[in-house]
């Protein structure tokens, strides 16, 4: 029987073929027990093969935790069974795809996954429910059309992203695509990028004021810039470093106002070398570049990078691509035309108003294809490839808002294009509006998911789409972003209305919740990070949105944007407005609160320890935790008011209060004294690792220990913001610690 390896032997780039061969061999070695599971885990991650929920062989089916007996005992990583379905992430640099690649992507989803392609918030494409044995064939078939999965996960340079409008944007300084392409190619498998403690993300923007490439939240964010020197316009980049979302978001720091284009690749390499050499390796939660820069300070980091740059051995690849940069451009499929009085199909006008962007090249437009939850079927992808062949040629991009855009569409073609998109179920309006909700996979497939981000996103999308025609214009343009946990894969920090999943135990039953995050900014390359306001049961989030948006419409002053409205109204008032929504009815009154959106299983039952004594202790502890919640919130209010010292003081106090709640569950008379609290918390809960590996509680405890050991001199909003964020996460972790202790019956 033929194999893909034989069939594609002459088609694949030899280096890529060799890389895939090596991985196939590693699979064989692992199966023979000749490769350690940890080593294999990292090697598969570097090929984009990720774990998925329930791959440890356990799943709660709504009644009990069921053991899933897969045929093989073998593992593909610690606590990760070989036969368990996994996820395959596929890098799509700058989101660029052509129709032939789209065909192959569609075929592979159909043959090896579940017939669905998922566009991620970093322009990748993901398949779910993949068997690890199928991955080499997937990689070969992708490789044959110029796509790689190499370094799509793991501690490596991830997909290089860029603004999906690059090259056609009316406000860009220049087209960043050739630079993004060159950087992606140069850093792929680069020896200097193989020894990171964590991942490294790069993004390119064409302009500063739009959301564009979201440069502010990347390890390396580059914004196109020009400078006139000796009468000549020189290209370069405003370079930012050390940004990132994650549990604790960091604003990127300005590294250089103007990095000349010929220095882009050498400086990327130099930064990678410094990160690899000095970045944290053991403590994973402190290993991103943002922590290194926070530790060294931007000036020291800059000095180190500049020194590193000086000693780099010259590499011809640094500049050889620059010869083609000025001439780089896409050839439109058709001549430019205008939409002059053509007959418009039903639904066209609504779609046109939100999904069409006029390019800087007259007569051409970018058409957004809205993908609900970032999903499309293999059939749709193949049909969309044909649509692209007919209307836009090779110029297709995925976006960080989990959509696809077709560029260089001749304007006259829009009615026909719309008809075709509607025919294949991709003609929904609302791109880039409140209806176009972004969500990470959450509890659907992610091992870390706490609440159902996709379930909530689907529900909100349905509700908002139904009333979109009646929505006020100011509300229409807000953005909702949802993460299933605190890790920010749904980018909730930079949304107008952000949500991240959490949970609460009420009367010994778990209830899915979301933290409401306000104050984030999508524009200005992800210009500001929001903070959690209040924890609300998942089933009441639609009411949260109604209340906040109604009030915004009612009370906003002329031309007041949402961020300013939030600031003016004040978080205290907004929280008060939502307070009644935090209440959860008893299970007997409304059991729907005890299951998540789109999932009829009860969120959790059965496993927990019960008993009146435990109930009393927990009630007391929950009271203390509520006090910690209040303190974090008050810290936020001081932060918003510019009182950083008090923001820090209360954030720290909140952590102590939360820690004390756990300590008092074991030692009711424990004194409220900082040294005792930190010491006792370390001994009783940190050293004993009550959270285990599945929960991030241990890492959050470090925030309290660090703050206690060295009270910082908090001078900037950035510093205070981080402390408040850390405090919030620690309190959340203590809530989870409580649940764990309750379940274990260790009170």
């Amino acid at each position: 029987m033929p194999t893909w390896e034989e069939k594609l032997a002459d088609t694949l780039d030899p280096q890529l073929a060799d890389e895939i061969d090596k991985f196939a061999t590693e699979i064989t070695l692992r199966k023979q027990g000749k490769l350690d599971e940890k080593v294999f885990a990292e090697t598969r991650l570097r090929r984009g093969c990720y774990g998925q929920r329930y791959d440890n062989g356990h799943r709660h089916d709504g009644i009990r935790s069921q053991e899933l007996h897969y045929p093989a005992d073998l593992t593909k990583g610690p606590d990760t069974l070989w036969d368990a379905p996994g996820m395959q992430r596929i890098k799509i640099p700058f989101g660029g795809m052509n129709p032939d690649q789209m065909d192959v992507l569609a075929d592979l989803a159909e043959e090896y996954a579940d017939g669905v392609l998922h566009v991620t918030t970093r322009q990748d494409i993901q398949y779910h429910f993949i068997h690890i044995d199928d991955t080499p064939a997937i990689m070969r078939r992708l490789g044959a059309v110029g796509i790689t999965t190499r370094e799509a996960c793991g501690n490596s340079v991830r997909n290089v992203t860029a603004c999906p409008l690059a090259g056609v944007c009316k406000t860009e300084t220049f087209d960043v695509v050739p630079y993004a392409k060159a950087t992606a190619r140069f850093m792929l498998g680069h020896p200097d990028a193989q020894n990171f403690g964590r991942k490294f993300k790069i993004a390119f923007s064409g302009c500063r004021q739009e959301a564009c490439g979201l440069a502010n939240m990347h390890d390396m964010g580059l914004i196109a810039a020009t400078r006139v020197e000796d009468g000549k316009v020189r290209r370069g980049f405003e370079l930012y470093v050390g940004g990132g979302l994650g549990a604790v978001p960091h604003d990127a720091k300005l590294f250089d106002e103007f990095l000349p284009e010929e220095e882009l690749l050498p400086f990327t390499q130099a930064i990678a070398r410094v990160f690899a050499r000095l970045g944290e390796k053991k403590q994973r939660d402190r290993a991103r570049l943002k922590f290194l820069i926070a530790k060294l300070g931007i000036e020291e980091f800059k000095t180190l990078v500049v020194e590193e740059r000086k000693v780099l051995a010259h590499d011809t690849r640094w500049t050889e691509y620059l010869g083609g940069v000025e001439a780089y451009g896409e050839k439109p499929l058709k001549p430019p035309t205008f939409l002059n009085g053509q007959k418009r199909p039903e639904g066209f006008d609504a779609w046109y108003s939100t999904n069409v962007y006029r390019q800087k090249q007259e007569g051409y437009v970018v058409a957004s294809v809205t993908l609900p939850l970032g999903d499309l079927s293999s059939w749709q992808m193949r049909e969309l490839a044909n649509v692209a062949r007919r209307f836009s040629g090779d110029s297709v991009r995925t976006t960080v808002e989990q959509n696809i855009v077709l560029r260089w569409v001749s304007e006259t073609d829009l009615p026909d294009l719309y008809r075709e998109l509607a025919r294949i179920g991709l003609g929904a309006p609302g791109a880039g509006t409140i209806v176009d909700v972004t969500a990470c996979p959450g509890t659907d497939t992610c091992k870390l998911g706490i609440s159902s981000s996709r379930g909530l996103a689907g529900e909100l999308r349905t509700r908002l789409a139904a009333k979109s025609f009646n929505l006020d214009e100011a509300v229409k343009n807000l953005r909702i972003k949802i993460s299933g946990c605190f890790n920010s894969c749904g980018q909730h920090h930079i949304a107008d209305l952000g949500f991240f999943g959490t949970t609460l135990t009420i009367n010994n039953r778990k209830v899915p919740h979301f933290q409401v995050v306000l104050g984030g900014k999508w524009q200005d390359n992800g210009g500001a990070y929001g903070l959690a306001l209040v924890r609300v049961p998942s089933k009441r989030i639609p009411e949260v949105i109604d209340r906040i948006t109604d009030r915004y419409v009612r009370e906003r002053t002329a031309a007041e944007n949402f961020q300013d409205f939030v600031k003016r109204t004040g978080k205290k008032e907004l929280r008060n407005m939502l307070e009644d929504l935090t209440k959860v009815p008893p299970y007997e009154v409304d059991p729907s609160f005890y299951s998540d959106w789109g999932d009829p299983r009860e969120y959790t039952i059965g496993d927990m320890g019960t008993g009146e004594c435990a109930g009393e202790v927990i009630s007391a502890a929950q009271f203390d935790l509520a006090a910690a919640d209040r303190l974090v919130f008050e810290a936020q209010l001081h932060l918003d008011g510019g009182d950083y010292t008090n923001a820090d003081r209360l954030a720290y106090r909140a952590m102590l209060q939360a820690a004390l709640s756990l300590i008092r569950a074991e030692w009711p008379e424990a004194p409220d004294e900082a040294d005792t609290i930190t010491r006792e918390f370390r001994t009783r809960f940190f050293d004993t690792n009550i959270w285990g590996d599945r929960y991030a509680g241990s890492k959050f405890a470090q925030y309290m220990f660090a703050r206690h050991a060295a009270p910082p001199n908090v001078n900037t909003h950035d510093q205070a913001h981080r402390l408040v964020e850390e405090s919030q996460l620690f309190v959340e972790a203590v809530y989870r610690g409580h649940d764990i202790l309750t379940e274990r019956g260790q009170k």
């Binding site: 029987m1 893909w4 089916d61 368990a84 075929d107 579940d114 669905v116 999903d375 999932d599």
Partner: protein, 178 residues
């Protein structure tokens, strides 16, 4: 390895006034009791928001079950992932058995109140492997023998699409399930 990734689509008999969302709790309950023989049932996903996608998906290690709206008609599809047996016929037969078992279970589900019935006079067989079963006349000819062995000599086999990009799909009529 020989061709084993077969898909089977069974069509619901009309009129089938069924809400696709009702399959979600049904599939979850199947996991609770591991209801499908020879399958490790793992998870349920709602892809109802996608056109011509898997609808409501029940993931199993051996193969996936899903509602299917291809050709605009509600149906149940099963896609085998793991080999079952030693020949193309045995793989095909195994896929058919799984699809029929699932269809039978669905017909008995109380939530559908007897309104869901699957047709016995027509089904689709999909060879879900573009390497071992390219969509061409030669492959169709090769598959005629195993298809006839599984469905009987009375079954009529029609090559459903000649588009080389499609998976090889055979429409089986002539009461293949009776």
């Amino acid at each position: 390895m020989e061709l084993h990734r077969f898909g089977i689509k069974l069509f619901a008999a009309e009129p089938a006034d069924i809400r696709v969302k009702d399959f979600v709790p049904v599939f979850h309950s199947w996991i609770q009791r591991q209801a499908v023989e020879g399958h490790l049932l793992i998870d349920v996903h709602d892809y109802g928001h996608i056109q011509n996608g898997p609808g409501i998906l029940l993931v199993a290690h051996e193969g996936n079950f899903c509602t299917d709206m291809a050709e605009g008609k509600l149906g149940l599809a099963y896609f085998r992932k793991q080999p079952a047996g030693a020949s193309v016929e045995s793989h095909l037969d195994s896929a058919l058995k799984a699809a029929r078992q699932a269809a039978s279970l669905l017909e008995q589900e109380a939530v559908f109140e007897g309104r869901l019935r699957f047709r016995k006079d027509e089904l689709l067989v999909i060879a879900n492997d573009r390497l071992l079963a390219p969509n061409d006349a030669a492959t169709f000819a090769t598959l005629q023998s195993p298809l006839t062995k599984v469905f009987g000599t009375g079954a009529k086999l029609l090559h459903a699409s000649t588009n080389p990009k499609d998976r090889l799909t055979v429409r089986v009529t002539g009461n293949p399930l009776s």
